[in-house]
Symmetry: C2
Subunit: 219 residues, 2 copies
């Protein structure tokens, strides 16, 4: 019974995700679903990439409460829309559709959707995105791929953030990478410190290339 209910919710979400895909296809929007634990660095990832993108970009900010992150991005001079879910632990495609209508992004642009900080539930809800980016922080520990396999498996890019504190934390990169490989994941891993900017150039280059693929295909 409970399984049936969950299936209905997921099926309803899938229909909305198709509508998001249709919206983005029509306007040639590259939609990025940014996921990760609370405090992993999702907003920092977006804010760090924005000035280095080869394309116009805007942001849909998802939070249970507050407009802290949306304000930060607006202060940087980018268009942003805030979605507050109230209590819900993940965004749904319907909210993204509404967010896109409010944001009204220009054609041939990138839209980041910052999901709720949660290493579990967002993995199950398709938002109609082009890619899912997982921000996984060094501070969370090197055993996360073993403990939260679904989130790692659904990610198209894995960003290992706060890489500058790897030694302080005692994070074993080989053990972490082994956990990712053991799940059969082929997605690229980017160790980055947004603080020192180490690794940011490689990440930005890869991201611009991936977004450009969509725009090139549409030409």
């Amino acid at each position: 019974m409970e399984i049936k209910i969950v299936r209905n919710i997921l099926e309803k979400n899938e229909l909305s995700a198709d509508r998001v895909r249709h919206y983005c296809q029509e306007r040639n929007i590259f939609l990025v679903n940014v996921m990760g634990s609370p405090g992993a660095g999702k907003t920092t990832f977006i804010r760090s990439l924005l000035p280095h993108l080869s394309f116009t970009a805007s942001v849909i900010e998802g939070d249970i409460a507050s407009t802290i992150d949306a304000k930060r991005i607006a202060d940087d001079g980018y268009n942003v829309v805030q979605i507050n879910t109230g209590g819900s632990c993940h965004l749904i495609a319907d909210s993204v559709l509404q967010g896109l209508a409010d944001l009204a992004p220009v054609s041939n642009s990138v839209v980041f959707v910052e999901n709720i900080g949660n290493l579990v539930c967002p993995a199950s809800f398709d938002l109609g995105q082009d890619i899912r980016v997982l921000i996984s922080s060094v501070a969370e520990g090197d055993d996360k791929p073993y403990k939260y396999p679904t989130m790692f498996q659904c990610a198209d890019m894995i960003i290992l953030s706060k890489d500058d504190v790897r030694d302080v934390i005692g994070f074993d990169l080989e053990y972490y990478s082994q956990g990712i490989r053991s799940l059969g994941i082929k997605s690229p891993l980017f160790p980055v410190s947004f603080k020192t900017q180490a690794g940011l150039q490689a990440l930005t280059a890869a991201f611009n290339y991936r977004a450009g693929e969509k725009f090139r295909c549409a030409e």
Copy 2:
């Protein structure tokens, strides 16, 4: 419709939580629901407290996948039972009831229940615990009380873990505390570094006092 379904799930859980309370009342078990983000330090909190407790203690480990944490606790020489939820993002009281049956804790003892790493969903599911402990890591940033109010509001003790990296991270304790106060929260806050053990003594003393209250009341 959806709200009704959620209510049914919560009502069903509440009945099981009452059964957990009954179980713990009969055997005089002090049940601790340990919550927090992935990698906040839930297992480390439990392992750090265990040697300093004035009471016998054992552990129910909740994880989506893996037995990494349960093995660590077993290696320390404590009784532990692992619950793997498969995909679920929070423990339910039914699982705790089953875990207690498997663990068979002695009377007048403490049982830690380590919840799934998640700063959202576990707050909504009563496990029949005596107290909820929130492990909130410095590495997650100082804005978490503003963004995840429900989790902070339901906590009986708030542990600010990884306090040794507060300066490295640039964590503003006053802003964080202000966030907690603005929610009307009266629960005590314990800044702790389990690495350097700074703050551990105060935490242990408070915890032993609180657990002792239950045992004293039962005498």
